[in-house]
């Protein structure tokens, strides 16, 4: 019997065949952290007297949560990390002008078949390219930074097949929310989701990154897209070389599988305060919204800005709207294609690649009693600021349509 993608990747990293449920040690290909967790990682290393890193080429550091620093303590945290980066000779360091760590991993670093660990839960995003990527806490990451190794329990692979092509205004977020609504947030705990796309180019890497990003909201250990022609196209186009591809065996056996018909999806929204409390946008059209946020490592990519600009171009937003591309690369492309101008002309506040208000950081946190519609990944109580705020989650089309009307709006009804 053949191997699943999970077994192939983790088996290679462990140096021996592995099976779901067993605990194994394994080699890590890439380790990463950002400012808000990085200082904690460094603190753990220093307290433990660990004064080396496993590989100067295979540690990625990016500033995104506290970028640019909103207060002296944030600036101090960044100062301490820059010192560490210089001292250790870290080659892949991205200061305040590059973008969100997970987006940079997708643009520059992640490859099919790698094991990637980072001190942030949304590390799962790199699963878009077929990497086994997962987040860990500061102590576990400190150990990985020093040794290049970790331990984990091999998850049970779960197969999702995406059939057909998504309709107008449907994207990665609707797939992620469909899985959350259908299975609920605890179902994939201890499992790795392997997504097989029937028609690779109908579901581009941008969409895949949104779904993989929200793998952590499903509590999956990893959410990987099986590498295919679209994976190769993306890496070749963005980095100029063709990656080696690793895929599950044809006769790999999965204990569970789920088929999702993309053409049957409607625009979906997660309702406060839970990611798996999912409804159709059309059922929520009486909900008034105080702020719309388009951005984050979940939905701050070029395709998201393309959708927003299609809906907002030549019109004025009725709700205060903040838009933040996930990286400078996305920002520049969106600018070259005119999307940024469309958004600015429509009245959006547009700023550059940072996590912003997603985690209640800065650039537009929610006040008491406010309702936010956000393209980010979490609507937990207090996540975007005040615990008395309400956060709804959607893809960029619902967000842009909502910005125009001031109420949650199904984009299919917008002229």
């Amino acid at each position: 019997m053949g191997y699943t993608l999970t077994e192939k990747i983790l088996g290679r990293a462990a140096g021996r065949p592995v099976s779901p449920g067993e605990v194994t040690e394994l080699k890590v290909d890439l380790v990463a952290f950002h400012d808000l967790t990085g200082y904690h990682v460094i603190e753990v290393m220093e307290k433990a007297g660990m004064s080396k890193i496993f590989d100067q080429e295979r540690l990625v550091v990016a500033f995104d949560h506290l970028s640019p620093p909103p207060d002296p303590r944030s600036a101090e945290i960044q100062v301490s990390i820059r010192k560490f980066v210089r001292k250790m000779g870290v080659k892949n360091f991205h200061d305040n002008n590059v973008g969100i760590l997970h987006q940079l991993m997708v643009e520059k670093y992640a490859e099919p078949g790698q094991v990637i660990l980072a001190a942030d839960s949304h590390t799962t995003t790199s699963g878009a390219l077929g990497a086994f990527a997962q987040g860990m806490g500061a102590s576990d990451i400190a150990a990985a930074v020093v040794t290049g190794r970790t331990w984990m329990t091999v998850p049970e692979p779960f197969k999702v097949s995406l059939k057909g092509a998504p309709g107008k205004w449907i994207g990665g977020k609707d797939v992620a929310l469909k899985l959350l609504g259908e299975f609920k947030a605890d179902y994939f705990n201890g499992k790795s989701i392997e997504v097989h796309v029937e028609d690779p180019h109908s579901f581009p890497v941008d969409y895949r990154a949104t779904v993989s990003n929200m793998g952590i909201e499903m509590n999956a250990d990893a959410l990987m897209f099986v590498p295919d022609a679209e994976t190769v196209r993306f890496i070749k186009e963005n980095r100029g070389y063709e990656p080696k591809v690793i895929t599950p065996d044809r006769d790999a056996s999965y204990q569970e599988a789920y088929d999702l018909e993309l053409n049957k999806l409607e625009p979906l929204v997660a309702v406060p305060h839970s990611v798996d409390n999912v409804k159709g946008a059309s059922e929520l059209e009486d909900v008034e919204v105080d702020q719309v946020f388009i951005g984050s490592c979940t939905n701050g990519r070029l395709s998201d800005f393309e959708v927003a600009s299609k809906i907002l171009k030549g019109k004025k937003v009725r709700t205060r709207t903040i838009a933040i591309p996930a990286s400078y690369e996305q920002f520049k492309k969106a600018m070259d294609l005119g999307y940024i101008k469309d958004l600015v002309d429509s009245g959006c506040v547009v700023t550059y690649g940072t996590c912003g208000p997603c985690l209640g950081g800065h650039f537009g946190v929610a006040g008491p009693g406010e309702t936010v519609l956000s393209t980010s990944s979490r609507n937990f109580k207090g996540r975007m600021g005040s615990p008395d705020a309400k956060v709804y989650l959607s893809g960029p089309a619902v967000a842009a349509a909502t910005a125009l009307t001031g109420k949650i709006t199904d984009p299919r009804g917008v002229q």
């Binding site: 506290l66 945290i77 839960s121 102590s139 605890d186 909201e217 209640g360 979490r378 615990p387």
Partner: protein
């Protein structure tokens, strides 16, 4: 390793944004973090937990962000162990790495009531509440050694 205390009870899907909001993450100081533990849903938590408690919860306790301060805050606030129907993977590891016992106990959210005394044997996962005994998933091997040392740092200091 045996821990004991009165039960403080919460529901399903308690996430780490609730356990310790992001605005406090620029610190790793246990005493500071403890004062803000569970603040969004239970502003009195710090007082209620201070004498030492066993936290009981439902499914995927600690889901969401990887912030290790979630485990640090609970432990420093007085939580002696967390018993839940299930745990999110990252939180579970963070808790062990910070010396906070975490035991998966099927049925615990039905069986335990607020204020009851719970007694937990960490190695076997056996939980005694009133007259009832529940069987949870004990902690053994390396994870137990880390817990007994009080956390991964303390463990590393001991073995090196």
């Amino acid at each position: 390793m045996i821990v004991e205390g009165p039960v403080l009870k919460y529901g399903d899907k308690i996430d780490t944004d609730v356990i310790i909001p992001a605005k406090y993450l620029k610190s790793t100081d246990p005493a500071f973090l403890a004062q803000h533990a569970m603040e969004p849903i239970d502003p009195q938590f710090y007082q209620r937990a201070s004498k030492g408690v066993i936290l009981v919860a439902g499914k995927v306790f600690g889901m969401g962000s990887s912030r290790e301060q979630a485990a640090i805050a609970l432990k420093a606030a007085g939580v002696r162990a967390v018993l839940a129907e299930s745990f999110a993977r990252i939180f579970y590891r963070n808790a062990v790495n910070n010396g906070l016992p975490v035991i998966t106990v099927p049925g615990i959210s039905r069986e335990a009531s607020e204020g009851q005394i719970a007694r937990v044997i960490v190695e076997s996962g056996e939980v005694r509440i009133g007259e009832r005994t529940l069987k949870g998933k004990g902690i053994t091997g390396m994870a137990l050694k880390i817990l007994e040392s009080g956390g991964i740092m303390e463990y590393l200091a001991k073995v090196s």
